[in-house]
Symmetry: D4
Subunit: 217 residues, 8 copies
């Protein structure tokens, strides 16, 4: 079935975005085959949602691979078409548990040449923590908000800031907030206007939505 | 089937709470029969979720009935066992659309002898509106929060106030927030600790939870 | 309860967005009261999801009101702080049934001073219809995609265009696509990267997300 | 990312509640970092939903740590601002399987200085068991009810007692009662008035709701 | 399409149960056609879930038809194969709002020759009401329990009585108990053993389950 | 917005299927505009899910229009590219309530030149009814099965017949079978192999799936 | 917490049913404690849903314990109040995968003194298999039907047999039939009248429902 | 319980389809027993969804067994009634992660004598990949489409091709697309007409639906 694999090599030219490889549902053999094809074209390999065990196997085979354990991402090679923009992205997160998703977004921006800064543990249950960081956050051109539980952080930021805000629900919590659906629905029905939302845990997608904005202007 | 109706006349003695009659799923004949039974015992009739048409029929039959149109509640008679407490309840709501539920709570407290005040349109998308009312809200002994959409108001209040907070999700909104489930799940998974939650639109229940608190101390 | 209404007059200064009034869950009395308060501050009234009957009552009271029937929106007065941008928005929709939502987005952009153009009936089941319009769509700075049913249009556009893409699921269809959840989930899990999503039918929200992008650059 | 961690040190002063740390979605490194920060401020560390393996690692590092295996909680240090109240809480549970959640509530009350007593296996399927304990339960100021399966215990207690009742659905059972949603919905729609409800398994939250009540009077 | 209608005339011989006709999704023309076919075979017509308007049309056409308004059922003709059993069924219901479903069950038993008695408003929120009726209920051979909201009545009865218990969730209530799913799941996960459950509002089905029991012994 | 309407005139050439117009979410003005465009191209208009009121308006405007009331479909004009196949389709349905969906399928086949026959009321609760028709059903080349409630008819037929079987869940029933999801899931998880399934109520879609089969051979 | 355990020793006297212990959510220590209490009263221990590892620990402690591996049940001691009835139960199952649930039902009947026989692999996709066993099945007084996937077996049997039928959905399958909800909803909405339904996988409950029937006559 | 197993040996004669054995919910002992019964009748054993561990045990016992690791299928023996058709099936898949389901379909066709070819990684996010393969795909008589995420591939193919199209949603993805329900609903509500859908991950079922088509003509 090898010859059937049909990687979208043209995507970066067409829409300027590196195609991320979802590591979760692929086995090591499938991942290795895809990595080789991508590297043969001198393109960057960017794998998301890859666990330590699978990553270890790839690190053995590809000497220039780097595994980002907290982000669960693996990168091989170099992006020769990096954007060089001065626009920056603030990645604001409700708590330490949101850090995997936040760091996936940060890394995805970085490999495309966009700088970002994370603001963790500024959840709305302690409003003063968020307010004290507001002036600094306001200096960034695009805001990514990562939050689990009830996801109220997106609404509060949306009412205070005028920038584009991209909300990412995070699958932390238990009971009704397990799997991130409470946060997803909360963000989608936010009473603050103009907040757009990504799939649960989709840090990479939020980064690409930010990249589309930054690239377009 | 008349003789089968078996109203809980003893409840007020036992737990000090008037049994509300849910008007929604009963026809006018059933409602009249129940009202007569209650009034024969010299107790107060308190009907929730009753629309204008049904209410009109009851107003014709019972001269001392009052219909509260915005609360969709109908009251007949007098409560002779009213509490006389100095504890007061603040009913805080995100928007004008939450007013039916807020007023049902207010009225349910009133017939039990508890004073309350409503604070409408202090939603978190405009945080300054809420902050400017905070000092006043803080003076109340128990807080009821009514909110639809993403229900973030409960979380923000929960992080700022130390009183008992009873959250009522409201079935306003559309798409994912239609029917109030987004607000319900958001309130249940609030990252502010110790917020307890009622069924969607259950203003009467929130009032009774507040009454249990006030009565007990 | 009149004095409790607490409109967010400061929002336009703070985040540059007119606060839309959700007409659906408010009665005519509540709407009139809010309209008067807003007009007293010389601000623009923008009501979404308002049906013909309620609109008629407001048109009688406010001489400078306009009702946009196909968009189910009512506007009173003038926005004195209109943006003047040359950036334009393409609103692409799968079918005629999506037009209410598309037109709500168009009108919301217009009152904020942003020009837009609608492209209706370019659904992916007839791919040639979409492809034939692609060159023209590509000239717009931001793309809003409105689609019901399976919402595949967002994915196809996302793979072909590099602009910011804001997807709005629409509550048309029946069976599993009734209420728009199939389209919502389809858009959230799109395999095209960087598509951000609004609540079902939230044309106004999509417009405000586009406005945040256009304003920021 | 160390410097980003932003613990809410001020919460205890503001609302009088120790911020619990959710152990479930954090790794050992993240937990250690947070523990150190909290202890540096001479505050109490209270971790919920932490399994034996993670707890073991913290016990090695922090000599004054205690792990409560049946409650899955870990406590380090001392709470110097304990409440000293004579009000007590009854924690009533349907069965042995509810004990993790019951004990989490008990421990959370204890570290805040509130006494409580557990009543286990008084489920309604054997009504005589509950009735025989009723006189004793009635002496407590606040009632926490923990129940899985169909959660009917909350309704039965709510009809018999006049105290504040806080219901916690528990994620035991299988089929339709797996994950606790049957109990959650049952408790929310209880026909006994004024029962307020917490998220599934949220023993800590119920304790904090009880604390808010006890502190306020 | 007339000739296609293919009523199950043989059912009563085969399993001893009259085939009920679901009136809800059929128009008047379809209902009339089916009625004629059934009457031609000298069998009884039993239509459930038929509203007043449709019933009126049939009453005009069939002189020996009876409409039971509170049960929303219509009966034409006579059942010549009535059972003659001394076993009786108790139909216990939580509240007045459950009466439509209770009466549908009562009527379905009656046309098959089984006697029953209804006990309405014995919900568990007022446990004393139920307890006071227990001795009388215990004399019946089969128990049908109809309850909406949280459906706890089935559990309480199941722990007190040893008879066959058939539980019918009722679609009353609002928020999480709207449409009867909270009651359904509550009854299915009852901690009282051996309670079997019917579809929401299926009074006729409960009667037939009771009939199967009574016929078999 | 007239000029935006972009009907897929090319579809019939490309895939040999007339594009049906979903009448449900379009107003009369939108429908008239589309009809005129289609007729100008000398193509057939086929509208599904159109109620009597809307149909009446179109009948006034288009003299050669026919409304099929039981199928809720409206047809204008003639299909000049009718297939002429000897393959026939059996449309088997569980009950009279399924007839709208069955007739939509029958009509959709007819306008494409495919003959079909309906077999109504052969539900599995009376297995003998189905078995007695089996020999006749077996003579058809493709089988469409329409069933609501628990949809078991598809499984039984799938185990007895070797033809292609296309199952259509129907939104009749109440409680758990309301809206057709019980039938949908039942059909999708059928233990009879090789049954393929359409959206709930999608009679037109089933006809087109049958047409694809008949056309291809 | 030992003293809190409050086993329902009186149940067997009251309703004639041994209280089963749900093994799934209890640890070995909790199980041992409960076993000792029950045995001290000379009652039978019956544990359901207990895996091999936990069972092994109990087998070491209690010499008269028996573990039924395929049923996942553990029994200790003797039931001195066994029923002695000649009524028998047929347990009919769709496939080999349903055997755990079928055997749990069989064992639960056995310890109460009721004889039963299992009929496995008579699913409706091969109708001839079921039909060939029908005469034998018809001789049993009560029928328990266990089926996963689409659960159509219950409907087919319900249309052919006049006995009491108790349906148990089984959590086998994948996709839409995973976890047993497709079978549950299918059984609840069966078009065969008078089939009553238990929770998913609740073989013990079905046995107790059968026992209630057999005991009562 | 051995004698109860009741394999459907007659199915191949009746409907021409080998009965697949679902390996997932059966233990090794149950599988071995069934295999022996099938082989004794000189029929082919075809097991789906069997993991490596279970397969290994069967490979030890049956010398002519083959395990297809990527398809998770095990085959023993020979099919003596293979079809010999020139009709071929194209299996088109969105990505490498869909390969298990695609290969299960391919293998199921192969053992019945039908040739097929897989086209992997032709997802719609890179439309050019799909378009470039279209001419080749068009040569096949039946199309099976396997796709996870938002499943838009089925719609795009349905608008371009006139063959029978059988869509299989695949349970890859995370957040809202986890478990395959987003793809399932997307495929069921496709705006391309006449696409029929299988249960999530049901590659075998799709193959059998294709076989029914090929056999019938």
């Amino acid at each position: 079935m090898n010859k059937d694999i049909n990687f979208d090599f043209d995507r970066q030219n067409r829409i300027g975005i590196i195609e991320a490889i979802l590591g979760e549902h692929k086995n090591v053999d499938q991942l290795k085959k895809i990595c080789k094809q991508v590297l043969d074209k001198s393109e960057l390999v960017f794998i998301t949602r890859i666990n330590f065990e699978k990553a270890q196997c790839l690190l053995d085979d590809f000497s220039n691979a780097d595994y980002y354990k907290e982000a669960c991402c693996l990168v091989i090679g170099k992006n020769f078409k990096k954007l060089s923009s001065e626009k920056k992205v603030a990645i604001v997160a409700g708590g330490t548990s949101d850090s995997r998703v936040s760091l996936e977004a940060k890394l995805a921006l970085e490999v495309h040449g966009v700088e970002s800064k994370t603001f963790i543990d500024v959840g709305v249950a302690g409003l003063h923590r968020l307010i004290s960081k507001l002036d600094e956050i306001e200096k960034f051109e695009v805001i990514i908000v990562c939050a689990g539980m009830e996801g109220a952080l997106a609404t509060v930021l949306g009412g205070l800031l005028s920038q584009p805000i991209i909300a990412v629900p995070v699958s932390i919590g238990y009971g009704v907030s397990k799997d991130g659906f409470a946060a997803l629905n909360s963000m989608l029905s936010s009473c603050a206007p103009g907040i757009s939302v990504m799939n649960i845990d989709n840090g990479y997608g939020a980064a690409m939505a930010a990249l589309r904005i930054i690239k377009s202007f």
